[in-house]
Protein backbone atom coordinates (compact mmCIF):
# COMPACT_ATOMS: atom_id res chain seq x y z
CA UNK A 1 0.00 0.00 0.00
CA UNK A 2 2.46 2.59 -1.13
CA UNK A 3 2.22 5.49 -3.50
CA UNK A 4 -1.19 6.72 -2.43
CA UNK A 5 -0.57 10.05 -4.06
CA UNK A 6 0.21 8.62 -7.45
CA UNK A 7 -2.14 6.44 -9.36
CA UNK A 8 -2.17 2.83 -8.16
CA UNK A 9 -4.43 1.54 -10.88
CA UNK A 10 -3.10 1.13 -14.44
CA UNK A 11 -5.19 2.41 -17.32
CA UNK A 12 -4.32 0.87 -20.71
CA UNK A 13 -5.34 2.10 -24.12
CA UNK A 14 -6.43 -0.26 -26.89
CA UNK A 15 -7.37 1.82 -29.90
CA UNK A 16 -10.04 4.21 -28.69
CA UNK A 17 -10.95 2.08 -25.69
CA UNK A 18 -9.44 2.52 -22.23
CA UNK A 19 -9.12 -0.67 -20.21
CA UNK A 20 -8.70 -0.75 -16.47
CA UNK A 21 -9.64 -2.73 -13.40
CA UNK A 22 -10.36 -1.99 -9.77
CA UNK A 23 -8.33 -3.70 -7.09
CA UNK A 24 -9.78 -5.40 -4.07
CA UNK A 25 -8.10 -3.16 -1.52
CA UNK A 26 -9.84 -0.11 -2.89
CA UNK A 27 -9.92 2.68 -0.36
CA UNK A 28 -11.98 5.84 -0.77
CA UNK A 29 -9.03 8.05 -1.65
CA UNK A 30 -7.75 5.69 -4.34
CA UNK A 31 -11.25 5.39 -5.79
CA UNK A 32 -11.58 9.17 -6.04
CA UNK A 33 -8.11 9.64 -7.57
CA UNK A 34 -8.89 6.85 -10.02
CA UNK A 35 -12.17 8.46 -11.12
CA UNK A 36 -10.45 11.81 -11.67
CA UNK A 37 -7.57 10.32 -13.62
CA UNK A 38 -9.82 8.14 -15.77
CA UNK A 39 -12.00 11.14 -16.62
CA UNK A 40 -8.94 13.12 -17.67
CA UNK A 41 -7.59 10.25 -19.74
CA UNK A 42 -10.93 9.94 -21.58
CA UNK A 43 -10.60 13.55 -22.66
CA UNK A 44 -6.89 13.58 -23.51
CA UNK A 45 -6.93 10.26 -25.35
CA UNK A 46 -10.28 10.91 -27.01
CA UNK A 47 -11.56 7.54 -25.87
CA UNK A 48 -15.00 6.46 -26.98
CA UNK A 49 -15.21 3.46 -24.69
CA UNK A 50 -14.02 2.46 -21.22
CA UNK A 51 -13.93 -1.03 -19.77
CA UNK A 52 -13.65 -1.29 -15.99
CA UNK A 53 -13.06 -4.82 -14.77
CA UNK A 54 -14.38 -5.27 -11.21
CA UNK A 55 -13.95 -9.04 -10.94
CA UNK A 56 -11.45 -8.58 -8.11
CA UNK A 57 -13.70 -6.35 -6.02
CA UNK A 58 -14.95 -8.34 -3.05
CA UNK A 59 -17.39 -5.69 -1.92
CA UNK A 60 -19.10 -2.64 -3.40
CA UNK A 61 -20.41 -0.31 -0.74
CA UNK A 62 -22.32 2.93 -1.27
CA UNK A 63 -19.11 4.93 -1.74
CA UNK A 64 -17.77 2.74 -4.54
CA UNK A 65 -21.26 2.56 -6.06
CA UNK A 66 -21.43 6.33 -6.10
CA UNK A 67 -17.96 6.57 -7.65
CA UNK A 68 -18.93 4.17 -10.45
CA UNK A 69 -22.21 5.98 -11.09
CA UNK A 70 -20.56 9.40 -11.24
CA UNK A 71 -17.74 8.08 -13.39
CA UNK A 72 -20.21 6.67 -15.92
CA UNK A 73 -22.07 9.98 -16.05
CA UNK A 74 -18.91 12.05 -16.48
CA UNK A 75 -17.65 9.72 -19.20
CA UNK A 76 -20.97 9.94 -21.02
CA UNK A 77 -20.80 13.72 -20.91
CA UNK A 78 -17.38 13.42 -22.54
CA UNK A 79 -18.76 11.16 -25.25
CA UNK A 80 -17.44 7.84 -23.94
CA UNK A 81 -19.34 4.71 -23.02
CA UNK A 82 -18.35 2.94 -19.80
CA UNK A 83 -18.89 -0.76 -19.23
CA UNK A 84 -18.36 -2.23 -15.79
CA UNK A 85 -17.56 -5.91 -16.18
CA UNK A 86 -17.20 -8.99 -14.03
CA UNK A 87 -19.21 -8.23 -10.91
CA UNK A 88 -19.13 -11.18 -8.52
CA UNK A 89 -22.55 -12.72 -7.77
CA UNK A 90 -22.36 -12.12 -3.97
CA UNK A 91 -21.56 -8.47 -4.69
CA UNK A 92 -24.62 -8.18 -6.96
CA UNK A 93 -26.85 -9.76 -4.29
CA UNK A 94 -25.52 -7.43 -1.60
CA UNK A 95 -25.87 -4.33 -3.78
CA UNK A 96 -29.54 -5.07 -4.41
CA UNK A 97 -30.16 -5.59 -0.69
CA UNK A 98 -28.37 -2.34 0.06
CA UNK A 99 -30.85 -0.67 -2.28
CA UNK A 100 -28.28 0.27 -4.91
CA UNK A 101 -28.99 -0.43 -8.55
CA UNK A 102 -26.07 1.40 -10.17
CA UNK A 103 -28.61 3.24 -12.30
CA UNK A 104 -27.03 4.45 -15.52
CA UNK A 105 -24.03 2.14 -15.23
CA UNK A 106 -23.75 -0.30 -18.10
CA UNK A 107 -22.53 -3.77 -17.12
CA UNK A 108 -21.25 -6.96 -18.71
CA UNK A 109 -20.82 -10.45 -17.32
CA UNK A 110 -17.08 -10.43 -17.93
CA UNK A 111 -14.32 -8.37 -19.54
CA UNK A 112 -14.53 -10.26 -22.84
CA UNK A 113 -18.23 -9.53 -23.26
CA UNK A 114 -17.65 -5.95 -22.20
CA UNK A 115 -14.97 -5.51 -24.86
CA UNK A 116 -17.26 -7.10 -27.45
CA UNK A 117 -19.97 -4.60 -26.55
CA UNK A 118 -17.41 -1.84 -27.13
CA UNK A 119 -16.70 -3.19 -30.59
CA UNK A 120 -13.75 -5.46 -29.94
CA UNK A 121 -14.07 -8.96 -31.27
CA UNK A 122 -11.99 -11.96 -30.56
CA UNK A 123 -10.87 -13.61 -33.75
CA UNK A 124 -10.25 -17.28 -33.09
CA UNK A 125 -6.88 -18.37 -34.40
CA UNK A 126 -5.14 -21.71 -34.02
CA UNK A 127 -2.40 -21.50 -31.39
CA UNK A 128 1.10 -21.06 -32.72
CA UNK A 129 2.99 -24.22 -33.51
CA UNK A 130 -0.12 -26.24 -34.16
CA UNK A 131 -0.31 -27.39 -37.73
CA UNK A 132 -3.32 -28.95 -39.19
CA UNK A 133 -2.52 -32.17 -40.84
CA UNK A 134 -5.00 -34.19 -42.71
CA UNK A 135 -4.28 -37.85 -42.51
CA UNK A 136 -4.30 -39.40 -45.84
CA UNK A 137 -5.03 -43.03 -46.39
Amino acid sequence: MTGRQSMDIPILRLGDVLVTGLINELDDKTATVFADELTERIATERATGVLIDISRLEIIDSFVARTLTELSTMARLLGARVIVAGMRPPVAITLVELGLQLTGVETALNAEQGMAALGWHHAPRPPEGVTRRETLG
Partner: protein, 155 residues
Protein backbone atom coordinates in the same frame (compact mmCIF):
# COMPACT_ATOMS: atom_id res chain seq x y z
CA UNK B 1 -29.32 4.12 31.05
CA UNK B 2 -31.77 6.52 29.49
CA UNK B 3 -31.12 10.21 29.45
CA UNK B 4 -33.40 12.85 28.06
CA UNK B 5 -32.90 13.56 24.43
CA UNK B 6 -31.49 10.12 23.92
CA UNK B 7 -32.87 8.03 21.08
CA UNK B 8 -32.81 4.31 20.74
CA UNK B 9 -34.19 2.26 17.95
CA UNK B 10 -33.83 -1.34 17.01
CA UNK B 11 -35.06 -4.85 16.98
CA UNK B 12 -35.15 -6.61 20.33
CA UNK B 13 -31.81 -8.23 20.94
CA UNK B 14 -31.39 -11.95 21.14
CA UNK B 15 -32.11 -13.58 24.48
CA UNK B 16 -28.44 -14.35 24.94
CA UNK B 17 -27.28 -11.05 26.30
CA UNK B 18 -25.05 -9.68 28.95
CA UNK B 19 -21.72 -10.71 27.58
CA UNK B 20 -22.02 -14.36 28.55
CA UNK B 21 -22.70 -15.51 25.01
CA UNK B 22 -20.58 -13.07 23.09
CA UNK B 23 -17.04 -14.19 22.47
CA UNK B 24 -14.25 -11.85 23.43
CA UNK B 25 -14.26 -8.87 21.15
CA UNK B 26 -11.41 -7.21 19.36
CA UNK B 27 -11.66 -3.45 18.87
CA UNK B 28 -10.28 -1.52 15.90
CA UNK B 29 -9.97 2.24 15.47
CA UNK B 30 -11.60 3.95 12.46
CA UNK B 31 -10.07 7.32 11.74
CA UNK B 32 -8.77 6.98 8.20
CA UNK B 33 -9.30 5.24 4.87
CA UNK B 34 -6.60 2.75 5.79
CA UNK B 35 -8.39 1.87 9.04
CA UNK B 36 -11.48 1.11 7.00
CA UNK B 37 -9.50 -1.45 4.98
CA UNK B 38 -8.14 -3.00 8.19
CA UNK B 39 -11.68 -3.27 9.60
CA UNK B 40 -12.93 -4.94 6.43
CA UNK B 41 -10.13 -7.50 6.66
CA UNK B 42 -10.85 -8.23 10.30
CA UNK B 43 -14.60 -8.55 9.68
CA UNK B 44 -14.00 -10.82 6.69
CA UNK B 45 -11.78 -13.04 8.84
CA UNK B 46 -14.46 -13.10 11.57
CA UNK B 47 -17.16 -14.22 9.12
CA UNK B 48 -14.91 -16.94 7.72
CA UNK B 49 -14.16 -18.13 11.25
CA UNK B 50 -17.90 -18.27 11.99
CA UNK B 51 -18.46 -20.45 8.93
CA UNK B 52 -20.44 -17.95 6.87
CA UNK B 53 -20.94 -18.60 3.16
CA UNK B 54 -19.60 -16.22 0.56
CA UNK B 55 -22.82 -14.19 0.21
CA UNK B 56 -23.16 -13.75 3.98
CA UNK B 57 -19.48 -12.79 4.23
CA UNK B 58 -20.06 -10.14 1.59
CA UNK B 59 -23.18 -8.82 3.36
CA UNK B 60 -21.43 -8.43 6.70
CA UNK B 61 -18.24 -6.88 5.29
CA UNK B 62 -20.33 -4.42 3.26
CA UNK B 63 -22.39 -3.45 6.31
CA UNK B 64 -19.16 -2.99 8.29
CA UNK B 65 -17.77 -0.75 5.58
CA UNK B 66 -20.90 1.46 5.58
CA UNK B 67 -21.04 1.80 9.35
CA UNK B 68 -17.31 2.34 9.83
CA UNK B 69 -17.27 5.02 7.15
CA UNK B 70 -20.20 6.78 8.84
CA UNK B 71 -18.24 6.75 12.09
CA UNK B 72 -15.24 8.51 10.63
CA UNK B 73 -17.02 10.86 8.24
CA UNK B 74 -19.97 11.92 10.42
CA UNK B 75 -18.73 10.89 13.84
CA UNK B 76 -15.20 12.25 13.56
CA UNK B 77 -13.69 8.81 14.06
CA UNK B 78 -14.55 5.94 16.33
CA UNK B 79 -14.11 2.24 16.92
CA UNK B 80 -15.44 -1.06 15.63
CA UNK B 81 -15.70 -4.03 17.98
CA UNK B 82 -16.15 -7.53 16.60
CA UNK B 83 -17.77 -10.20 18.76
CA UNK B 84 -18.92 -13.78 18.24
CA UNK B 85 -22.29 -14.24 19.96
CA UNK B 86 -24.00 -17.62 20.25
CA UNK B 87 -27.72 -18.21 20.51
CA UNK B 88 -29.53 -21.54 20.58
CA UNK B 89 -26.61 -23.28 18.97
CA UNK B 90 -26.22 -20.68 16.26
CA UNK B 91 -23.08 -18.66 15.84
CA UNK B 92 -23.02 -15.09 14.72
CA UNK B 93 -20.92 -12.03 14.17
CA UNK B 94 -21.75 -8.82 15.99
CA UNK B 95 -20.26 -5.48 15.07
CA UNK B 96 -20.50 -2.53 17.41
CA UNK B 97 -19.52 0.80 15.90
CA UNK B 98 -19.04 3.69 18.29
CA UNK B 99 -18.26 7.32 17.74
CA UNK B 100 -18.34 10.42 19.88
CA UNK B 101 -19.60 12.70 17.16
CA UNK B 102 -22.64 14.99 17.07
CA UNK B 103 -25.16 12.13 17.08
CA UNK B 104 -27.92 11.58 14.53
CA UNK B 105 -30.59 14.29 14.92
CA UNK B 106 -33.34 12.55 12.94
CA UNK B 107 -32.95 8.80 13.12
CA UNK B 108 -36.02 7.92 11.00
CA UNK B 109 -34.79 10.18 8.22
CA UNK B 110 -31.26 8.78 8.47
CA UNK B 111 -32.60 5.25 8.08
CA UNK B 112 -34.64 6.12 5.00
CA UNK B 113 -33.07 5.41 1.63
CA UNK B 114 -31.77 8.44 -0.15
CA UNK B 115 -30.92 10.35 3.01
CA UNK B 116 -27.38 11.69 2.88
CA UNK B 117 -25.40 14.49 4.37
CA UNK B 118 -22.11 13.20 3.13
CA UNK B 119 -20.34 11.33 0.41
CA UNK B 120 -22.40 8.19 0.00
CA UNK B 121 -25.63 7.51 -1.79
CA UNK B 122 -27.68 7.77 1.34
CA UNK B 123 -28.13 4.04 1.66
CA UNK B 124 -25.52 3.47 4.33
CA UNK B 125 -27.56 3.16 7.51
CA UNK B 126 -30.78 1.72 6.07
CA UNK B 127 -28.76 -0.55 3.81
CA UNK B 128 -26.63 -1.86 6.67
CA UNK B 129 -29.84 -2.61 8.56
CA UNK B 130 -31.16 -4.70 5.68
CA UNK B 131 -27.92 -6.66 5.40
CA UNK B 132 -27.97 -7.76 9.04
CA UNK B 133 -30.42 -9.74 11.20
CA UNK B 134 -30.33 -7.44 14.19
CA UNK B 135 -29.80 -3.71 14.24
CA UNK B 136 -29.72 -1.36 17.17
CA UNK B 137 -28.92 2.34 17.25
CA UNK B 138 -28.24 4.44 20.27
CA UNK B 139 -27.62 8.09 19.53
CA UNK B 140 -27.53 11.19 21.61
CA UNK B 141 -27.04 14.80 20.53
CA UNK B 142 -23.49 15.90 21.22
CA UNK B 143 -22.48 12.56 22.72
CA UNK B 144 -22.16 10.29 19.76
CA UNK B 145 -23.68 7.21 18.25
CA UNK B 146 -23.39 3.50 18.93
CA UNK B 147 -24.70 1.07 16.35
CA UNK B 148 -24.73 -2.64 17.03
CA UNK B 149 -25.52 -5.12 14.25
CA UNK B 150 -25.57 -8.91 14.27
CA UNK B 151 -25.85 -11.53 11.58
CA UNK B 152 -26.40 -15.19 12.46
CA UNK B 153 -25.03 -18.10 10.58
CA UNK B 154 -28.17 -19.70 9.21
CA UNK B 155 -26.49 -22.45 7.26
Amino acid sequence: MKLSGERTMGAPTAPVEGGGGAGAGATYPVRTDEDLITVRHAVRAATVETGFGLVDQTRVVTAASELARNAYIHGGGGTVTIEFPRNAGRRGVRLTVRDEGPGIPDLEAALADGFTTGSGLGHGLGGARRLMHEFEVHTEAGRGTTISVTRWNTQ
